[in-house]
Amino acid sequence: MKIKDIEKYIREHTQADDFICFVSENESHETRFAQNGITQHIAGPKLSISLELSFGEKSGSCRVNQADEASLDFLIKTAEDIARLAPADLEHMPSAGPAKLPKVENCAKATMKLKPKTMVDIVQKSINKAIAANALVSGMCEKHLLKSWTFTKNGFAGSNEGSSFGHSMTLKKGEVETKVSYEAKDYAPFDLDQEFARLKSQAKALASMQSFEAQKIAVILRPEALQELIWYMTWMMNRRQSDEGFTAFTGQMGQKFLGEKFSLYSTLKHKSLSAFPFSSEGLPSTETTWVENGVIKNMPANRYWAQKVGCEPLHIFNMYIPGAESSEEEMMKMVPRGLIINRFWYIRAVDMKVGELTGMTRDGVLYFEDGKIKHAVNNLRFNEIPHEMTRRILALGAEKLASPAMIAPTVLVDGFNFVDKTTF
């Protein structure tokens, strides 16, 4: 059954007072390689049809992955049965009505045209380069095409088509281990030679490792590293959680709670940045300022909470953190000594109320002194509070697409709190 037929069938067959339906189709090809050979290789289509409906304030939902009449009957009946049995939801909201949605371009032709044979050739070339470098490479080459539709009883209708291409490589040579990755909606700019050159360069810089004790020290966070901290910070920046007293952001709306040099937006203007045109509740994605020069301008809030507290319902659909022009070389001269961090790993919240996170560095840490890289050091554990960290930003570097939904700069941060070290 096609999407229009699914919509028609659900509209005709449900007795519910209200509903929202989300349909997605995904076609993927995923080639996983490790230690210079392919270990997994997966392809196939996926379908998901989710229906959430209500009788008055009583709601139920169901999801199936088949679009025949019997499955849709099951979908509708199961959701209706649940809704009839459920208690009234004190926070029930009617579904969204018609909305003007932004035009977005999340699909790239080059990604859509990418064939499995080409992807396997990329893997073979990645492995050949590793063999030539007398090293082992592990990674992933993947392509995803996604189509999704949302419609409601009250007349909301939205759709999105997206593509993504990802390629990552972790190189192991002797004791050195480091990684590069490319992840974007568009395959066209991907340049394996350039990626491998970056990988080799990182590996070379890490060759002479020296032991380094955990301490508070200046760090240059590359975009991939900053991205991971900011994802967690925005997760804790939820309006309701803050209003209810559960996070560090309680009472900070409109306050200069973050650093002067830090701003954060969701935007539809950057062509390379993916942007889903609407939220799961049917809210159109709009240009949003979350933080400007350290001042919290907005926090994400769903429709229920927005109505309750009288704010605008907003969602984070991507993140843009503006950078500036400081190069890593210039940053290294701004502080006596410090570390360059490629990525973090295994970040977890330590204290939600304080906003404290823990995690490890990964894929290479470099020590610099007197404006120059001296040597690599072992990986380190941090316990750090990202919003406080933004107050210690000394300089911003060039911004870069860190993932399909995040543009972030390199930043120089003073006094980053490392608390432990590991053995490699």
């Binding site: 270990t39 392809a43 196939g44 049965d81 499995p116 592990s138």
Partner: protein, 480 residues
Amino acid sequence: MKYLDLAMSAATSLGAEYADIRIQKTTDQVIFLRNLSLKSANTSVLNGYGIRVFKDGAWGFAHNKVFNDEAVLATVQKAFDIATLSASVNKKKKLRLAPERSYIASYKTPVKIDPFEVPLSEKVELMMEVNRTMLAFEGIKQAVFYLIAHKDEKLFASTLGTRLDITYQFIDPMITATAVHEGDSQSRTFDEGGRAVGWEWIQSLNLIDKARQVAEEALIKVKAESLGPETRRTLILDPNHLGLTMHESVGHPTELDRVLGWEADYAGVSFATPEKLKNFRYGSEIVNFVGDNTLAEGLATMGFDDDGVPGQKWHIIKDGILNEYGSTRDTAMEIDLGYSRGCNRATYYYDQPINRIPNLYLLPGTQPLTPGELIADTEDGVYIQGRGSFSIDQHRVNFQFGGDFFWEIKNGKLIRPLKKILYKSCNPEFWNSCDAICDQRFWRPFGVVNCGKGQPSQTARMTHGSAPARFRNIRVGGSQ
């Protein structure tokens, strides 16, 4: 089902050295209640099949949701084509499969009351009562009940002649109370981590009493003090805390695919490399870890894995020494093991199975020892219950854990509750610092239902377990 034979016959005709088909219907019911508001009551049914073809030392895996002859044959062809493409890459690097015999068998999780047969109204009524009980305590600002019921119905066939019919189920209740007091917010959670049992387990838990306890302890916790700077202290860890610590610091490092570097690009590798087998002191002499996919009520107990290998029981760490890994048919042969330990599991029909942690538990102490005696024998330490923050490096060496509830121990007594406690340690220091484990009477299972691993990401389930155990000279202190 006719598609099993059709697919295996087609794969053989195409020239597959080995192939299997897994027809899998997964049903999940998730109910989420927050402050008496039903945030989610959802049933999800995912039905389809995945076909693996092994050819020239390489895998191809294709999945589909369309059930007819044409679609099944097309999916076999796709898996075969992908395997052929895989085999064209680095022909010197060929995988091998450990020998395995064929089985014709069925397995069904023993369930007295099927959770899917319990009316939603009965479930929600209980959950509301639990919520109300917690919210009745002044200072409790958030009460949450999260309930998952899960069922996999699988038909498996392989070109070895194996035919399996498996119905696997688990249920997982989790309740949390959050208290807010003088600018701080602290939660306390009841979480056993899920079990492969039916609704009868929920009935036996007396969740109303648990709700009162959780609320009271959240209020105690939010008013508690922290510990101050980190120093070396003794830890006594409860089974429902130690489950996660063993998961991260023993379970993952002994997955053979990580040891081989197959997860190097994502989840990471392992310090517990093959040359350490049978000689590396992973823990003190009292530390014995068993992999056991036959464990009653275990989340990884499902008769057979997704290679068609039966559940087994074996020592992973024996008398403190690294003994063996959790393995699959393809990883086992990389270290010439010659057999698989049956640890290949997939989440949904569209997932290619990967090497997962088995049910893995710490054997209890052999001498009679109660938790009370263990605390009485400890001069200065911290007793930790429940899951908290957790983080470990990608070689599985350095780690930091929090917990859910803490007591300071002084001179053999629990003297005051604490909050915001963290401990830091590393392998093999941590397990070598274990100097006492309570006896069998105090052994408790702890399930993990959300073990994320792999690219594309998958979620696996397994049960851990232990009796309360003591660890000496660990870095323990308050968070920032």
